[in-house]
């Protein structure tokens, strides 16, 4: 019995078992209960696009502005109707769009700059509930916000050409779309419509059928009035129009918010005319308000716009819509001619007021997006990469196993068991981290490579321990007393070494972009789990084994030879000592 008392092996193993059981209970009984980790697009096939956002000044955008841009991009992607799309920001300039599956070439073309326009409302109509999945969640208050102020005239709308990038892969022309609808007469019929209700009678049935088949890109080239008056052109379809479809300031356009379809006049004021936007709680009226200021020239344009709207009789025309990208963000009624700061009120809570102010600020300094990378992996190539990754892991692991068995024999078996256990823990953690309710970690090919590389780190902890053990036995200690002594020293080294490895992985993770993050993540995770396995399994098991006789047998453990050598040396030393005394 060792002086400090025998190691309570059972206790460590029990803790480890408890961890394993807990992990697998979570895997089997919570979340979506899927038993596979979430795989990255390079393994299952899909399209990944990295956009980098820049302001016109070349400065990196503010975090707020980048997040707004992310939402805009997300709206565009959802508008395409693709499933399981993911849009995330990365670093301080990048937005990464990931879409699984095939044939998502459209995703590569969503990087047009999102512009803000102020347009007087011409008409409104309720949206027809769409059969398609609802595309655009528009935040902001539901009650009609109102603006107030007083008068001063003069202004004009300056036209900024929008970043329409569909120069190649030719976008549909009006002529093509007209042909699809059944020729000029059909378009003429549609153009004469003045109200959505008119298309309801039966004689337009073939036309309606043709209309329903139009793609969002085709809808975008139809005249705005047609887009507005045809109920088959739903808000879901309108929101899916290519980016920049309605940014031309000198044209009437049709756009939607949550519930309403708007026909909007030419843009009299642009987002870039805004100088600042804020939100605050107005204590006197006990409500949240959004305030809006314009630049010198913009202020004049805004005043003119509000005067025009204020003097209208029609309730719809009294409103001015704020349009960001393809969406109506807000459409407040103008309650006076505004010459100074504008206030938007109406049913805001803190969040919705903040959202609107953020969007206005974004509109004031719109970001342009540069496509940095665009990658499509076909599902078959993805599968091939997955297989290659697993095969590489198997080959690497097999090499390690053969080596440790050859070199450490019995201890080699402990190593293998530890690695397997480590694998079990890693697998459970991977599944759990891949769940959407955790961090949604996706395993990429680089991630698999990270695991393969980490086998070396994990196995090395055993090497450190076993080599120490060999030292102790060489000094002539019995296996029983050698194990605790070796462990105390090896533990320190293992912790130092793992700290350094973990540090490397953490730094990589923080600074890296794209697939590399996955590599760093798995490497770091394995390092931590390595500690768990070494402390809770390898050491206790070796301690347990040290109590058996076979542990020191040269054939079984490889420690026997060291011990035999040590014994021979001791004998030699004893002889020498005798000589000396003699």
């Amino acid at each position: 019995m060792a002086p400090s008392g025998q190691l309570r092996v059972g206790r460590y193993i029990a803790v480890l078992l408890a961890i394993l059981v807990a992990l697998y209970a979570l895997v089997f009984f919570t979340g979506d209960r899927k038993l596979a980790p979430r795989l990255g697009l390079d393994l299952i096939g899909g399209t990944t696009v990295t956009l980098s956002a820049k302001t016109s000044t070349g400065q990196p955008p503010s975090a707020e502005s980048l997040e707004t841009a992310r939402q805009i991009i997300e709206n565009r992607v959802n508008g395409l109707g693709v499933a399981e799309a993911e849009v995330v920001t990365e670093g301080n300039t990048n937005i990464v769009v990931s879409v699984p599956g095939q044939d998502n070439e459209d995703v590569k073309r969503i990087g047009a700059a999102a512009q803000m326009r102020f347009r007087q409302v011409v008409k409104t109509a309720p949206d027809v509930p769409a059969a398609e999945p609802a595309a655009t969640p528009t935040p902001s208050g539901s009650a009609t916000p109102s603006a107030s102020g007083s008068a001063t005239p003069s202004a004009s709308g300056s036209a900024t050409p929008s970043g329409s990038r569909a120069d190649a892969l030719t976008p549909p022309t009006l002529a093509e779309v007209t042909a699809k609808l059944g020729g000029r007469s059909a378009l003429a019929t549609l153009t004469t419509l003045t109200d959505p209700a008119q298309l309801a009678d039966g004689r337009a049935a073939p036309l309606v059928a043709a209309l329903e088949k139009l793609t969002p890109a085709e809808i975008a080239v139809l005249p705005a009035a047609v887009q507005f008056n045809v109920p088959q052109i739903t808000c879901a379809k309108l929101n899916a129009r290519p980016p920049g479809s309605i940014s031309a300031p000198d044209q009437q356009v049709t756009a939607c918010d949550d519930t309403t379809k708007y026909l909007l006049d030419k843009a009299a004021v642009l987002g870039t005319d805004v100088s600042s936007a804020n939100y605050q709680f107005d204590a006197s009226r006990a409500q949240w308000i959004v305030t809006l200021n314009f630049k010198g020239n913009g202020q004049d344009k805004w005043t003119n716009l509000t005067r025009k709207a204020f003097n209208e009789q029609d309730q719809d025309r009294k409103r001015v819509a704020i349009v960001l990208d393809n969406d109506v963000v807000s459409a407040p009624e103008i309650q006076g001619v505004i010459t100074g700061q504008a206030e938007i009120t109406g049913g805001f809570n803190e969040q919705s007021a903040k959202d609107l102010a953020t969007k206005l600020k974004y509109g004031a300094l719109p970001l342009t997006f540069e496509q940095q990378t665009a990658q499509t992996i076909s599902p078959t190539l993805g599968l091939a990469q997955l297989e290659a990754g697993l095969l590489a892991g198997a080959v690497g692991l097999a090499l390690v196993l053969v080596y440790v068995l050859f070199y450490y024999r019995l201890l080699g078996i402990v190593t293998i068991a530890s690695l397997l256990l480590s694998g079990l823990v890693v697998y459970a953690v991977l599944i759990l981290l891949g769940r959407p309710n955790t961090i949604g970690f996706t395993l990429t090919l680089a991630g698999i490579a990270g695991f393969i590389v980490s086998v070396g780190i994990t196995a090395d902890s055993f090497v450190v321990f076993f080599e120490r053990l060999k030292d102790e036995i060489r000094e002539g200690r019995s296996a029983r007393s050698a194990v605790p002594r070796a462990w105390v020293r090896a533990r320190r080294t293992i912790i130092s070494a793992d700290t350094v490895s973990f540090l490397a992985a953490a730094v990589l993770y923080v600074i890296a972009a794209g697939a590399v993050k996955g590599f760093a993540f798995t490497l770091g995770m394995s390092t931590v789990l390595d500690l768990v396995v070494v402390f809770l399994f390898t050491h206790p098991v070796v301690a347990l084994l040290s109590r058996s006789k076979a542990f020191m047998s040269p054939r079984i453990s490889g420690l026997g030879r060291v011990a035999a050598q040590a014994a021979a040396d001791t004998e030699a030393a004893a002889r020498r000592a005798t000589t000396k005394e003699a």
Binding site: A374, E387, G456, V500, V516
Partner: protein, 384 residues
Amino acid sequence: MASVLRRMYDGNGAFDFVGRRRTWYVIALVCLLIALASFLIRGFNFGIEFSGGNSFVIPAKNGVTLSEASKVVADAGAEVVSAQEIRGTEHSFLVRTAGLSEDASTRVKFAVADTTGIPAGEISDNRVSPSWGSQITNKALLGLVVFLVLVTAYLAFRYEWKMAVGAMAALLHDLLITAGVYSIVGFEVTPSTVIGLLTILGFSLYDTVVVFDKVSENTKGILGGSRYTYSEAANLAINQTLMRSINTSLIALLPVAGLLFIGAGLLGAGTLKDLGLVLFVGMAAGAYSSIFLATPVVSGLKEREPRYAALRSRVLAKRTSDAGRRGAAVAAPARVGGGTAVLDEAAGEDGVAGSRGARPAGRPQPRKRAGGNPGRPSGSKRRR
């Protein structure tokens, strides 16, 4: 050969790493100069992620061959830079082209699909803008700096700043040598390569830390005695951890070999190959530097401290007198007894380190007696 292995396995201090440090410095310096010259003259072979460009992976279907795949892409209006075969479970062709605009890239893909009859969904493509490379390069450099600062701080805190210097020297050596190999051989540099390079830093340090751990243990009590100089104790530490260093490097290299085997051998291109290759080269350099550079540098620095310099004079003086005594008494084994006694004094200060040092210290004696070579690591004599 067998005896060399045996000496390594025993870890008894039979190899003089620290004493011959000038030799290792010269070797490292020559390698570094070659690497630097290659940076200037040959530069690097950067992949499309750095220079910008497009690549298409076309499955080998419908009787498409490598030359056809290349031609089809060229006919679609792209300037083909290279074309290679990718084997593995899906046999396909990788065609790299000069930079194409976003839409041109999609157009080429569709054109290839039309010509070959392979559905567009089965063709993989990758477009990288020219500015992407600078973005990831900046990030990699930032990562490198952050990592070096953190690790230096950690090592300085955990051990001492001189060890941090030694570790940094080893790290820079690994980095530059690996980069040099890439430059000389002309391997393609991709983001995976850069990441692999940063990972190597972790590995190299890991290895170094284990040796340092032993060095600090062995040198803890030596000021109390006059048996060993700092360099000798450090050299002993390297020898004691030698087998572990070799084992570590081998065990770390084996999975990487798996990566390389599958990545380069079976697939011929991609993340696995890039990572495998850079890790393989870097880990080899790392194994070398943690043995031949890190500790020798630390020893060199430590020997300049007055107390270790004083220790050195004491040790040398004692050896001279011992040698004199031995000449008179003939009984060489007497030295063994003396040595052990001194180390036991040290054990009073640090029982663990002292007694641990004692064993390996005693063991080489028979060999030395046979060789008639007084003083343990031979390098110590040559230096002064």
